[in-house]
Symmetry: C2
């Protein structure tokens, strides 16, 4: 099945305790599409870049089966740029610089061939733009996933609430779930967010794994305990890409299959943090991914030996 | 198999966002022994209380198969007392008062019948007292578990390192593991602590579950996502009691069995936080425990469908 994703395609300047990577390729849609490309070869991107964005990266994405017809390239303009610095614990980061550039007046236009996409992933972006994408779809996708962040809750809550009504799966982190719902308990937070629209809520907890909620059902996927987290940038988007890519490739909306999608998303995220930027998720082999999934199975597998 | 535990038997004054419980029964050994009593009926306590400690609680413990021969009752003296207040997020707490009382000059004396115990759990206490208990054993127990806290790392690191050499399983929380090892990554922290003595390290992460490390093997047990955490006091000790009680009752030191012990410990801890103090873990039925274990199985169970 086809997967359409909207989000930034951009440059990042990342500082971690391990070093600095200046002006490397980043962006939510970049991570989402690359991660999903390991599961499905029918991926479409809606986004915008300036003419400073490297042609080699675009070719590499196309070679991985990513359709860039909906990627606008603005001549004479600059791509979106974000600079950030991680704290020693790697769980917190400070934004040092944000330059909207081409994103300032981004008007997403879906090519005809995009409007029939079966799966839609709305990467973190202005809620009104996320909504514009949904409205341009010729038919309702089978599954609409969405990411967002605290910034939009602070500055555009009304339009965020508006888009949420149209979304099936909300993928956010624990702090965002707490802020959006006003509840500290993630169980209560998920129940409240459910009432705002999404019937499925995935709460990403970074090194503490992820929780999947649907109605009364809950599933917990651990994060792989890693000796080194090199660069967490894009891990959440890589998770979302693995999740939606797996859903699109299997086309099975059952809770059992969604559990697998969360594990596959977690596995992809565990690769992402091993190197700076997108580097690691452009070079994976099928064997590496399978091996990683096996580690997830072993990590949580136990025989309860009930009623022996 | 018999399980001997040393630790405080005491009074707590607990304030949570849900209310306050003044002068309720608490103490590491109390929680450990009560939790373990659901798995084995051969439990012995070494501790000390004043004559202010309620006789009904002691009777209740004896009725649950807990041997109190090693519990010293000091006439005219007062029991150890701790007062604390939890923050709204329930993950942090402030100590408001600590009165050592009988604990100030506690000299543990192991009755003859205790010295052959097969399993030993050293609850959080002055490291030198923990060591005295080990030294009074007539034979080396099959498994020695130990808990400790930041306070001893700050004030008695040398004697803490001394006891660690004699211990098989260290059960501590994530912040303590980081402080003890000087490593932020729990994988690296476990490897370093392993070199200090314990071949098995259980890192308790509260609402984020627990990690079990032995050599290259790692197992992750989730915490049950709860809508309400009423009072977290004693959850770590209840975890340790379930873990060691299960190990003593099954007498199987394999990694597979230890994984189960971590799940059983997690299940007991998930009950503990539902009410103030020890209340919840004095009233459990076998069916309730089984039902809870089933929820843990369901929480992490998935079929990876590899190589379909």
């Amino acid at each position: 099945m086809s997967l359409l994703t909207v989000g930034t395609v951009a440059f990042d300047d990342v500082q971690t305790p391990f070093g600095r990577a200046e002006k490397i390729v980043g962006g939510a849609a970049t991570y989402i599409a690359l991660s999903a490309s390991y599961y499905t070869d029918d991926i479409k991107i809606v986004s915008v870049v300036g003419d400073d964005f490297p042609k080699e990266t675009l070719s590499m994405m196309e070679n991985r089966g990513i359709d860039l017809e909906g990627l606008q390239i603005k001549e004479g303009e600059k791509s979106f740029f974000w600079a950030g610095k991680y704290h020693d614990n790697m769980n917190e980061r400070d934004t040092l610089d944000t330059q909207l550039n081409v994103l300032a007046d981004f008007d997403p236009v879906l090519p005809k061939s995009y409007q029939q996409a079966d799966y839609l992933m709305l990467g973190n972006l202005t809620p009104s733009i996320q909504k514009q994408v949904i409205e341009q779809m010729a038919k309702r996708p089978k599954l609409v996933g969405m990411d967002t962040m605290n910034f939009w809750m602070d500055t555009a809550m009304e339009s965020l609430v508006d888009v949420l009504k149209l979304v099936d799966v909300l993928l956010i982190n624990d702090e965002e779930a707490r802020q959006l719902s006003g509840e500290y308990s993630l169980v209560k937070a998920a129940a409240l967010i459910h009432k705002m629209g999404p019937k499925i809520i995935v709460v990403k907890k970074g090194e503490h794994g992820a929780l999947l909620f649907q109605g009364d059902q809950v599933f917990f996927a651990p994060a792989l305990p890693l000796a080194e987290v090199f660069d967490p940038t894009g891990a959440g988007d890589t998770f979302a890409g693995g999740f939606m890519g797996y859903m699109a490739s299997t086309d099975d909306l059952s809770f059992e299959n969604m559990k697998r999608a969360v594990i596959y998303g977690s596995a992809m995220a565990s690769f992402c943090v091993e190197k700076f930027g997108i580097e690691r998720i452009t070079e994976l082999s099928e064997d590496e991914i399978t091996e990683r999934i096996v580690r997830f199975v072993q990590l949580v597998n136990f025989d309860a030996k009930l009623k022996v």
